[in-house]
Every structure is written in structure tokens, then in C-alpha cells.
Amino acid sequence: MKIKSIKLHPFAGIQEKEVNLTDGLNLVLGPNEVGKSTIFHAIHHGLLTSSNLTSRDFDDKMDPFLPIGGDVIRVTLMIYKSDPDTCYEIRKTWRPGLRNGEATLIKPAGTEVNDEDNVQSIIESLIPASPSTVREVMMSRQSGLHEIMERMDQHSEVQQELSDVLRQNVMEAGGMSVDKFREKVESEFKTYFGKWDRDKNYPQKDSSGRDRGVQNPWQQGVGVVLEAWYQKANARKHYDKIISYEEQLDELNSQLEELNAELSEKEQEYSNLSPIQEELQQREVLESKLETIEEKFGRVKEIAKKWPVYEDKIENLTPELEELNEQLDDLAEEQQKAAKKSKIENLKQRVEKLSQLENRIKEARKDLEEAKEITEKDIAELRELKGTIRDLRTTIRASKLKLSVTALQDTEITVSNIDGEEASWEISKGEDLEVEKEGFVTLKTDTLQLTVKSSTDDLESVIEELEAKEEQLKGKLEKLEVKDFEDAVSDNKLYEDYKKRLNQATRQFKDELGDDEYEDLKTKLEEAGDVEGVRELGVIQEERDQLQEKRRELKNELDKMREALSTWKDEYDDDIDNLFSERADLTSSKKEIEGRLEELPDLPEQFDSVKAFNNYLGSLDGSIDDLKEQRGDLREELAELNGGAPQESSDEYEEVVNELTSNFERIKQKAESIAKVKEETTDILAGLEDETYQPLVESFTGWLGEMSDGRFQEVKQDGELPDAFLTPEQTALTFEKLSHGTKDLTALAWKLTASEYFLNDQSSLLVLDDPMVDMDPDRRKQAASALQKFAEEHQVLIFTCHPYYQDVLEVENLIELE
């Protein structure tokens, strides 16, 4: 949107003035307080402030522009989009008080709009951005341009709009709105995956966790995938039902078939068996009768046979019994004898034993009498003597004697020691002999005996004592009539043994005798006499037992026969002919019944009685009834099953299931491709969002570079506003750290950038208030060149009181105020 002219009539201090603007660069030049800001405000309010204000809004916004003494403010604007000859005329009037103003808009075609709201909305459709953005960016009047940065920072609406514009640039490249595409994908995703759990490949559970398969399907929000799944699953279910029906039908039919076969077999059997039932009944009665008769006949026959036999036997056996009794009496007598015999034999054995013992005593006594009586005491004495002699000899041996002999002629020398042990040598003439002995030595030749004794004082007495003792020992041994001590010991042992044997035999004899006298016993035995030939008690008892058993049997037999005979005689009046006549009667009845039985049918082989036959027939009848009942049940079941019979056969329906299954698979494949598109879209968009501000940064860097002579060519920017500026040395400076002049330059660059983006390729008006006021001449030049460039595409309106603007800018329309 651009302005062709603005007329103030009146507005603040200006009673009536029209200013015409051209495309390109317009400069309003005049000293302070000549109405530059009045024109600015008139444009601003003419475009953006409603004429329909509350009193308070009027006071806030418009009251300062009420001419002194006046009660009306009036602005008329001619604006156009691209062709200055096709203008919209806007007339606005404000008056103090509540909604006292009015507005009129005349469209290029001449249509007049008087409704304030409509007028304002038409104006808003003509301006390149929202009123707020236009106010803050395209028509900011603040003299310090750098303030724009802060102001934009504070006005989130402007930021948002800038952001939207940028996004739109990126997102709509390629002739398609990415947002729309995303919506489309989302909606397709929903259409396909409604109520479908992709992970489980199954319908989603509901909020209560219930399964929503075919038993309890979702009704609302079912997506294409689930719809196909339900179709498939329902078909499968139906198919299973058909299969189950067919299987049940097969099963029922085969059961029925089996049952029918069994039934007809049983019925056949029943019809074979039942006709003979009655006759078999008769047979049973006759057979039972016949059995009784045969029983009776058998008895009569037996009695007839036994009666005479028994009588004979009784007669024969009675003497036999008597004889047995006699034999038993004899045996009893023998038994008594046999009992005595054992006592006598005991006595005999005792006497024999005692006699043996008596002999042993005699023998022992004789041995003892014959033995040398060498007592223990004698042995002790001998032992003592021997000990003394040994001791004495030891004493004598303690004094050694050495004897040296030289033979003067050949001679025999015998040497003996104290013990009398002798040794002899033949010595030749001149030969020497040396003998060494203890205490005492005797040397004997043919011619002499030389005894040498130790000359120790008491040795003499020792030797004497020794000799005495030896004499004593010798005397003792002689007295005892033994050769030496060893014999004495041996004889003593013998003597002691005989003594011991005697004692032992005597004791045994006494023990055996007890309180009895030996002689009494012997007498008793002699008196008892001979029991030879009497048998053993056991043998007699055995024979007696046998005979008793025999007698018992015989007696039993006799008793039985007598009893039987007595019974029979009672029964048949003591006359055997009566018995014979009964036998004849029975024979004829038997024949008659047998005749009748022959005419009746036999009991079938498999039965052992008519009762079993009847039972079987009864159970056959019962199972026929049961089978019929079962058949009835099966038929009912069959009818019920057939009531719900499916219309299709499983073979036919299988095709439907297969088709719906592959249909489902196709749809799922399609759906998964949508999911893939969705996923990739999200991924790409995340990347694109990062790139949103790239064009803005590029444009800003472009303007800044142009005005800073390349000093700032890089800007760090992550959001709508730049964060830092990079110097060629790569120092990052934040906006606050820039010099005042640089800040203005930067702010101007930003304003151009922002405007450019809001305008978004539209050609429009940009209002600037003294943009170069704080710049040094060099920067002014650079700023001017940038402005000049911007004005090539847009309408630029600059307000200033500095004539040097004219020097640096190629002004197309100079409006000088005085």
C-alpha cells in the first residue's frame, strides 16, 4: 500500500493542508515545529485509528490533535496498491465525546463504505501487515532508530507475525503448503489407523482395557485398517463357524450312523430271541421238576442199594470192634509196665555210674600210694639248698687261680674245678700248660694230686659251708630217693596230680550219690528184677493211638449205618418193598417230563440259564429303548444344528476369507506407507523449522553489510531478532555493545530487513523519522545508499529537519515545510 496524498483539514495546528507523495523517495524537510510530526500523525491515525472512539480513547489518542478552539479533526487519504490512478479515498473525522466521529471509504470503482468497522477492515486488508506491525515497523516515528530493536523485542505480536511470514516463505516453497500437507497426512493417518494398535497389530483396547476384537468391535472412529481387519476377522470367524458346523455335522451323522447300525443289530437279535421266551419259561419249570424227581430217584436208588449192605456190615463189624477193645486193654497194661521200666533203668544207670566213680577213686588212691611222696615243702627245701650252694660257689669263683705247669716228662694231667668238672691233657716233656680256675682247683697226675684253694680268709669257711650244704643236698636227695633236683620236681608233680585226681573222683562220687546211700541203691536195683522185653512207652502209645483211631472209625461207621437203617426203616415201615415201589413211580414220572422237554426249544448256547436268557432279553429291550432315545436326542441336535446352518460351504467361503485377508494386507501396506510419510514429514519439518530464520539472517546481513562497508557480515540469530554481530575478527558483539552510530545503522538495516519481509514482495510505504541523525558523514552516505536502494522498490517517506539529507539522497519528491 502506498499513499498518493494526505489532506489535513484540520489536524492539530494545521487548518488545511494537502501533501502529495510519489513512488520512490519522498523527503519532508523543515525546521522543528513546522508540522512534520503533524503530517506523520495524520497519516498514522488516518490509516490505523478508528473514528468510532469512546470518550476516553478520544482523550487518549486524538485530543492532542484537536485544533485550538476547534471541535473536529479531519483527515483525507488517497491510497493505492500499485497503480496511483486506482485509489481508495479514506475520509475520517474525529470529534470529542462518545463515538462522535465518522469514516467514509470510497473504493476505486466508486463504491462508498460508511460503516466504520467495514472501513477499518478494508484498510487493514490494504496495508501489508497487521496494524501493529505497520505501526511498529513501517511507520515507526521514533528518532532513535535503534529503539526499534527493543520495541520489537517487546511486541510479541510483531515478532510472531515476522516469524509467520518467514515460515510461510520456507514452508510454501514448491507450490504446496507444508502445513496443509501435514494436516493431510495426519488426517490420512487417522483415517487409516483409527482405533488400530500398530505395535500389536490388533484393535486398540478401550479405556477400561477391554479387548475390542470382533466380539466387541469399536463402533466409532474405526479406521480403514481396522475396518478391513474387522471384515477379515469376521470372515474368519464365520469361516470357523462353517468349519465347526461341518465338523459337527460329520460327527453327528457318524454318531447317528453308528447308532442306527447298533440299533438295527439289536432289534434283529431281539426279534430272533423274543419268540422262544415263553417256551423257555416252560422248559425252566419242567427242568426244575425233573431235577427234583431225579434227586428223589437217586436217593431211593441209593437206599435200595445200601439197605442190605448195611445190615450185613453191621453184623460183620460188631465182633471186630470187640476185638479192638480187648487189644486196647492189653496195651494199657503194657503201658503201665513200660512206665516202671524207665525208673529202674534210671536207677541202673546211676548205680553203674557210681561204681565207675568208685573204681576211679580206688585207682587214684593206689597211684598215690605207689608214687614217691615228694611234697611241695620238700621241693622248697631243695630249692633253698640249691640257691645257697649257688651263692657259695659264686663267692668262691670270685677268687681266680692261675696254674702254670711244665712237664718234666710226658704225662697226663687232669684238672678239676670247684664244681668237680674235670679236663685232661696229654703233655709232652718240656711242654707248658696254663690253667685258670676260680677259687679252687685240683690238678691230678699219675703221681700226685695237687689242690690249690684261694687263700682268702673266709673262703675256707665258704668252701666248708659249701661242702656241708652239698652234703646236705645229697642227703636230702637220697632220702627222697631221687637222682637230682629235676627228678624231685618231676616226681613232685606226679604226686600232686594223683592227689588231685583222687580228690576229684571222690567229689564226683559224692555229688552223684546225693542224699542216697550207695549200698541202698545197689540193693534197690537188685530187688527191681528184670524189665527186659517190655517195649518203649512211645511205641506202645503209637500203637494204641492207631487202634483207637481204627475203633473210632469203625464205631462211627457202625453208628452211621445203624442210624441210616433206623431212618429208612421208620420211613418205609420196616419193609424194603415199599422202597422198591416208590422207585418205580419215580422212573415213570421222569420219563414223562423228559418227553415233554424234548418238544420244547433248547436254550441258546450262549446262555447258561433261562434266567440269564430273560435278563439278556430284558437288557436288550432296555438298550433298544435307550438307543432310540439317544437317536431322538441326536436327531434333535441335528435339527438344531441345521437350524443354524451357514449358507456357504467352507470350501467356497475360504476364498472370501483369503480375499479379505489379502485386502487387509494391502490396506495395511498402504497405511504403513502413510505412517512412513508421516514420520519422514515430521523429521523433515523439524529440520525446516531450524532453517526458518535463515532467509531473514541473510537479508539482514545483506543490508548490514551494505551499510557497514562489509564490517559486519555475519549475524548470529536463532529467533526473530539478531543475538549478536560478528566482527571480521570473529568477535561476537551484542547489540548493546555496538557504538551509537553503528546501532543506528544496524537498526536501520533491521528495519529495512523487517519491512522487506513483512511486505513480502509487495511494494509499499515505509516511513522513517530522521534515520541518519546520529551518524557521521561516512555512515550517512552508506545509509543513504541503502535507503536509495530500498526506495527503488518501495515508497519511502523521510521526515527530517536536516538539509544534508538532500545532499546524500536522490530525492524524488521534496516537501519543504516552512
Binding site: M171, A173, G174, G175, M176, S177, V178, K180, F181, K184, V185, E188, E246, L249, D250, N253, S254, L256, E257, N260, R635, L638, N642, A645, Q647, E648, S649, D651, E652, Y653, E655, V656, E659, S662, R666, Q669, K670, E672, S673, I674, K676, V677, E680, T681, I684, L685, L688
Partner: protein, 370 residues
């Protein structure tokens, strides 16, 4: 003796997967049966053998059964031998076969028992050995009894059974009364007339072929890609056999698997489809390939609607028919680094064809909305 042998008519089949034409497909089977009976009369057949699955289900509504039986009653020249198959198996409780028995004339004979059936009453020198089905599935066939029966070699002994023969057609779980060729040969009959497999077997039966599958006279899926078959079997004095295959069906089921890359190929496809016979074809068309924008548009706006018209019924899977989208194309259409350029390029680079197609479509839609 001349026999018209067919099986697997599956009357009562609903074709629920062919919504718009299901009734016509269902109805065509009745028409075919009528044609078969007329053909039997016209060819002066002595007997008609229907080797199972005349009906689709063991439970049919009475009026339909009566309609079928009235058609069979129209055969004038001899007996119609009707074997229960595994779809229309017979049980003592079966309503279906009760309806059949109530409605049929005497010369329509239900082979519901495993017992020889002499055709002497019809002056035919033949005995029939049937193997009727008694349930939908069975791992054991019903022909075992036949080998044990003494046969009169003066007569023509014909076995009629319904089920699979391993090696001829798959029977995954061996649950369709499997009969080995050896069992069939050893059973002592002169000729086996079988049903169950919808494709005739052998392809060109010769003199020595004594085991014959007639195929279905009216195809019902693309698994039987023929025009519908029945067999005209002629047995000579010395039991020599001449078999002639008859084309009997109304509709054909065909699978078309097409790969196209250009509009020209699409047009060729259309040209192939636009034959007069196609009006009787149920076509399952699976088409794939990548097309230029123009061809793509032509497919959707022109070719496909025409194709649909060309066939009696068209089942289409064009999920793999794609627009050709190249890097160059994207670069030309969208400014570099613009969002569409980035998105599409990403899918091209990662070879994500499905996502690429979807993204392109969505972009076009958003552009069109502007």
C-alpha cells in the same frame, strides 16, 4: 453303451465373494445342468453318471432340490445314476436325499449304498459299483468292498466314486476319500468314473485310460481354468472305451497376471480383453509395473473402466501398479530443497517405493486443493 459322465456341479454355490454377479454365477450352474441333460438326450446317451457333488452342501432348501431333480427327470433314455459326494454326502437322516427321493422319477437312482447295482432293468449289460460319501471328510475311501465282490465278466463293470487320487490332485490332509490308482485298478471293474477334482483327468483320455475324472461342467474358481467339462464315454462290445470331452460351461474363470510399463502396453491389455468371449469371463487381474504420469492417468480414467466393462466380472489387484517417480522428475517439478523435494527424494534414495507413491499422491492432492 453311451454314458454322459459329469460331477461337481455344486448347485447352490453362493459366490459371496462376487457380490454383483453372485446370483448370475449361482444360476449359471442350473443352466449348465439343463444343458447337460439336453446334451445327453441329443447325443442319445444310455445312462447319465453324476459322480458326486451335484449339490454344494448336504443341506439344501427343498425348492432348489426339487428344481434340480425335475431337470434330471427330463432325461428320457435311461437311468440317471446319482452318487452322493463329499459335499452332498448321504446319511440316513439326510433331508437333502429325502427331498431327492421324494422328487425323483424311478429312473433317477441314488447310489447311496455300497452294493452292486445292476442296470439289467434298463436293458443295459452293466453293473455299477458305487462308493458313496457319508461325510464331508474321510481319510478312508469307500471302494474297498468292490474288490471282494464276484463280478460277471460278461457285463461291463463300472465303478463310480468321489474323492481324491494321490498324484492327480493335491489332498493336503488326505481327508477326501483318497484312492490310489493301484487300489482302483485292483478292484476288478472295467472302468472308473470319478468326481471331486474340478479339472478333467487325464488330459486326453485314450483307450487305455480306465480311470476318468470328468472335471466340473461349470467352473467355479480360477483353479479350474477351462470352459467346463463333461465326458461322453462310449463302451463297445468288447469293452473298448472311447472318451470324448465336452465343453459345457457358461462362465470361465481366468487369472491374468500382467506387467505393464507404458500406456501402449495398457492399451494392448485392453485390446486383448475386449474380445467377445471375455463377456463370459470372470477375470482376476493382478497388474503391476511402473507407469508415467500420463499412462497412470489413462489407467485410472480410461483403461480400467473399459476393462471392467470388457469382462463379465473383474477382480482387480493393482496395488503393485505404480506411478513412475524419478529423481529427475521430482527435481523438475519441485524447487530444490523445498519440502516436497526433500520428502520425495528421501523415499527415492531409501528405495521406499510404497511411501514414495503415497507421498506423491498426497502432495498432488494438497496441490489440487489449492
Amino acid at each position: 453303451m453311451k454314458i454322459l459322465h459329469f460331477a461337481d456341479v455344486h448347485l447352490g454355490r453362493g459366490f459371496s465373494g462376487y457380490a454383483e454377479v453372485s446370483e448370475e454365477l449361482s444360476e449359471a450352474r442350473y443352466e449348465t445342468l439343463e444343458n447337460l441333460i439336453s446334451k445327453a438326450n441329443e447325443k442319445q446317451c444310455d445312462v447319465i453318471v453324476i459322480a458326486g457333488d451335484l449339490f454344494e452342501r448336504p443341506r439344501m432348501n427343498k425348492a432348489d432340490v426339487e428344481r434340480v431333480i425335475q431337470i434330471l427327470n427330463r432325461f428320457e433314455r435311461g437311468p440317471v445314476l446319482l452318487l452322493p459326494g463329499n459335499h452332498d454326502y448321504v446319511t440316513p437322516e439326510s433331508d437333502l436325499w429325502r427331498y431327492v427321493n421324494d422328487a425323483k422319477d424311478d429312473h433317477v437312482i441314488v447310489l447311496g449304498e455300497k452294493a452292486p447295482k445292476s442296470l439289467g432293468d434298463y436293458d443295459l449289460p452293466a453293473t455299477i459299483y458305487p462308493a458313496p460319501c457319508h461325510s464331508k471328510h474321510s481319510s478312508e475311501n469307500e471302494i474297498g468292498w468292490i474288490a471282494d465282490v464276484e463280478k460277471d465278466s460278461e457285463l461291463i463293470n463300472i465303478g463310480i466314486a468321489h474323492g481324491s487320487v494321490p498324484g492327480v490332485a493335491p489332498d493336503m490332509n488326505d481327508e477326501h476319500y483318497p484312492m490310489t490308482q493301484e487300489e482302483l485298478s485292483d478292484s476288478g471293474v472295467d472302468l472308473w468314473l470319478l468326481g471331486h477334482i474340478h479339472v478333467p483327468w487325464p488330459d486326453n483320455p485314450g483307450q487305455k485310460d480306465r480311470i476318468l475324472y470328468s472335471g466340473t461342467p461349470e467352473p467355479d474358481t480360477a483353479n479350474c481354468p477351462h470352459g467346463g467339462t463333461a465326458l461322453l464315454v462310449e463302451i463297445g462290445e468288447s469293452k473298448e472305451v472311447y472318451v470324448q470331452q465336452l465343453l459345457t460351461g457358461k462362465y470361465r474363470f481366468e487369472n491374468w497376471d500382467e506387467h505393464v510399463t507404458s500406456k501402449e502396453e495398457l492399451e494392448n491389455l485392453l485390446q486383448r480383453a475386449e474380445q467377445e468371449e471375455s463377456q463370459e469371463v470372470v477375470c482376476r487381474l493382478t497388474i503391476n509395473g511402473k507407469l508415467e504420469e500420463e499412462a497412470c492417468k489413462s489407467w485410472h480414467e480410461e483403461i480400467f473402466p473399459k476393462l471392467r466393462e470388457a469382462f463379465f466380472y473383474l477382480k482387480l489387484d493393482d496395488s503393485d501398479l505404480k506411478r513412475r517417480i524419478t529423481k529427475e522428475q521430482v527435481e523438475e517439478e519441485f524447487p530444490q530443497e523445498s519440502f516436497p523435494d526433500r520428502l520425495l527424494s528421501r523415499f527415492i534414495e531409501n528405495d521406499q517405493e510404497e511411501a514414495l507413491q503415497t507421498a506423491y499422491e498426497l502432495i498432488s492432492e494438497v496441490q489440487d486443493e489449492n
